[in-house]
Symmetry: D2
Subunit: 309 residues, 4 copies
Amino acid sequence: MTAKKFAGIIPPLCTPFADDFTVDTESLRRHIEFQLDAGVHGVFVLGSSGEVAFIPDAQRRVVIETAVDQVAGRVPVLAGCIDMTTQRVAEHVKTAEAAGADAVVITAPYYTRTHVAEVDRHFRLLHERTALPIFAYDIPVAVHTKLDRNLVLDLAEAGVLAGLKDSSGDEAGFRFVLKGRRERGLDQFSVFTGSELLVDAALALGADGAVPGLGNVDPVGFVLIYDHCRSGNPLAARREQERLLTLFGIVDVAPPSRMGRGSAALGAFKAAMKMRGFIDNAVTAPPQLPLNDDELLRIKEKLAETGLL
Amino acid sequence: MTAKKFAGIIPPLCTPFADDFTVDTESLRRHIEFQLDAGVHGVFVLGSSGEVAFIPDAQRRVVIETAVDQVAGRVPVLAGCIDMTTQRVAEHVKTAEAAGADAVVITAPYYTRTHVAEVDRHFRLLHERTALPIFAYDIPVAVHTKLDRNLVLDLAEAGVLAGLKDSSGDEAGFRFVLKGRRERGLDQFSVFTGSELLVDAALALGADGAVPGLGNVDPVGFVLIYDHCRSGNPLAARREQERLLTLFGIVDVAPPSRMGRGSAALGAFKAAMKMRGFIDNAVTAPPQLPLNDDELLRIKEKLAETGLL
Amino acid sequence: MTAKKFAGIIPPLCTPFADDFTVDTESLRRHIEFQLDAGVHGVFVLGSSGEVAFIPDAQRRVVIETAVDQVAGRVPVLAGCIDMTTQRVAEHVKTAEAAGADAVVITAPYYTRTHVAEVDRHFRLLHERTALPIFAYDIPVAVHTKLDRNLVLDLAEAGVLAGLKDSSGDEAGFRFVLKGRRERGLDQFSVFTGSELLVDAALALGADGAVPGLGNVDPVGFVLIYDHCRSGNPLAARREQERLLTLFGIVDVAPPSRMGRGSAALGAFKAAMKMRGFIDNAVTAPPQLPLNDDELLRIKEKLAETGLL
Amino acid sequence: MTAKKFAGIIPPLCTPFADDFTVDTESLRRHIEFQLDAGVHGVFVLGSSGEVAFIPDAQRRVVIETAVDQVAGRVPVLAGCIDMTTQRVAEHVKTAEAAGADAVVITAPYYTRTHVAEVDRHFRLLHERTALPIFAYDIPVAVHTKLDRNLVLDLAEAGVLAGLKDSSGDEAGFRFVLKGRRERGLDQFSVFTGSELLVDAALALGADGAVPGLGNVDPVGFVLIYDHCRSGNPLAARREQERLLTLFGIVDVAPPSRMGRGSAALGAFKAAMKMRGFIDNAVTAPPQLPLNDDELLRIKEKLAETGLL
């Protein structure tokens, strides 16, 4: 294996639900087709945008199996194995393997107070248990630990990590990882940004790709950014990214006084996905709160403003 | 039901493991007998001290079943149903019900960014699904949300919550809850502190009891504090609590530069439990790190210093 | 010097202003007389409640001079020397010395990112520059550093610190300081709580006294708690403290959506002080926002409810 | 005034001290000449890198006067007016005016717990008091408040703010400010990044310039980045920025276990400045700790590695 395996736009797919909060597999399949039609280079199921924190284990399995079946090898399927500590994550990894995922995505431990030496041990133990490529998922807003950049590079060098999805918002730290990758000759280590509003900038820094939550709503836009960057047209990439900045305003239509930022963002993504015909039902899992009619109207306006409706 | 159901010392039991990290049920049974012999008024399994964040679901079930069987109705068994969001918690509640627990203990949502209105909805939805008494578990160090005191009182008044375990470290806020309980006439709402170094103070403020992690090591000490407080002997209670302050030094024998505070505390509790003969094996679950020989020696010295060895 | 110098109730005096935000010295003098009439055992000027962060240096000097002159030796006057780092604090210490203060109160460095070794050096350097007793002021909500308890005890043992005002809200840590003081025989080291809602509890743990912001509004109440505790009547102390818990509700009449918690608390203290006739003008310094009429009315009701109007 | 007034590389000058921590004006003048020779487009004195938090007021004045005198109108001189609240900042603004600064740089209030409405009032009141252009300084690591991006734009639109120095590390938020500036037609509002490791990226997003602390050590590098970006050579800019990433390693030669991150970074900057002949004395103000010989050696190596020695 000499070629790099993962690159491009790999959206963290939202998980459509029926009214009883079971996975709406038909909508999921349709959503995947919209994504593949848009030219995405992979899909990531059961990430934070996929409401992984809200989905019981049996339903998580359904999500991976459905995605693997629908994608049918056309692009890689990454599966989030999100849980608090090693043994619990290991069970999700086993599920992902059985379901045919191409890679697993794993965060630092959480709920417990941890330490860099424990994060190190966590990833090493999980690597021992699976042949699947492991992506480290750096998401301090959820797990309240920032991955140490030297640890990430050491684990890449040791063959423990195949990639990084950096949703930490620390772009300077991200740059150090890219620099370290080059200096250590870790060409096969894939580095993705989760900063969906800075994809053009991240690609300019040398990132391999992006995992943009907003790609659920407008995958074409992110693929365009990627293509513009690869063809040496940074200004066109920037223009496209700035349109998506406007679109991102949908996550703020519900005010912080009324609901959590998770509810607001995922509710907005799903509402927009429904308006665009990707899924049938915009419901988010409990205890998240639903958007109201006024908020939905403003989402519709944003979609119109950005040429999506 | 007019009498208050829960009061006294209810230690959050550590979960003894075999070397393969399955539950050592024999040690768990023996540990429970030591606790009951010491006069504790209940046991709480699968709390943070019980390494709930580290235990796969099937093994969690074993813990509850073993505890319920061993306790055999002598005191109430509370079971932690610790997970990120409503549906996942609901599955643990179902398990706890099936296993015969007397109450369930539930935190605010975590991993996701939440909101007081969502925390409210979370507890209400879970109450709809179970007849078991629900304790709210306020532990911001783990879930990064502090429970709002007015929400707690409103949920108590609505019959959603049967009790509170406050491990927030916010003693002034705790006092507001106690005051609100009295003013609203919520006599059956049980209020426990998790601040194991301030049990005498919390009881003096009007708390019903305590859930002290250190009770795994010295349950007799905490029962003494409780008895002294009830018999109007605050000075004796304080003396006992101060001895336990010394004992608590065991959680600091491993330095923060070497491991997380969770590893250090749980490793110390388990090591001391083993030295006292409560359990056979002091191992903690991965990715936690083990104490070294020097650290174990210092734990032994602390046990001697406080009259436990 | 064998007797302990500082004990009892030492309120952190609010600083009354004229409409142009210069110090209203006449009101300050009257306020001090109300405090001394109530039996307080010292006064602390230029603390957080004294809006020290808002007052230019020349006006800070006026506050200390006025307080020293008005108190005229009846009780000790402590002066806050609140600034970011050593040299800037040293200038305030010099002013306090010149103005005749009996002790100075100093926080950890802030604005800069600091370290325990630097906090240590900070207090040692300041001690070298003054013969005045130094109180360490532990207030992480303002300076975003928690004082290390072992550092505090080491500095006490080295004669650098004469006392501690603990407004950290960490009552367990406070207890460790009290325990360490006893174990190290540091009888002359004065330990005060700033947790105004837990004064009875702190005294029961062995604290020497309290520095309660709410004492600006009801000094008699806090002196009563102190006297009840000293005369072995904890239940009467608790009853009084619980009345003050109700009174403390004034800090919440202005909602967090409208203004900062500082504006709300200091605005409420000053409004209540004015209603009680202690000061002429309830204005707080910019950029703090004023309370509105409805909020003032609710403060009046709280004063009536707690027997103060 | 139709042209934009501020653009380019404006380093936040370190303040050289004599051994008694008074300002070494001769070194300051020499350092400024090195900066101007390198082609910087302005200088910013008394920022965080200038140890403003450590310098008494009289010495702060010396810094501004010296800089204004030495620069002699060749580029604009921005002066940090860093203090906790409005009235205290106003005094610094008055000093800056008297000393001839071209603009003042002001943070959100700190020490006190504040609110967006109070931050708004803070800047408006200060604007009423001075004709100097005001830059908002967004530096949550120091003041623990993030400036709200809509507030910044509103204040720009109201003519209160002339510019922004964004050291928040939130590049997505920075991009929203740039977008809002364009949409609102605020062409004269200057937007600078303080993210010294992402200057090329920030310029690509549309920023007017940068305020890089590392520019104290290598101003030529940052001017090159600026020039490359303006002449449409992003790859050359990136290469230069990556060299500076390597150089930035000097801030990590002293480990976090030994000193604060402020001591480590400012100590490293000053040591490098001395090695390069810009200043005579690398001492930092108390209570900061000095670097040791081994750490200084590693700084020298980094300078050699990056072509500066």
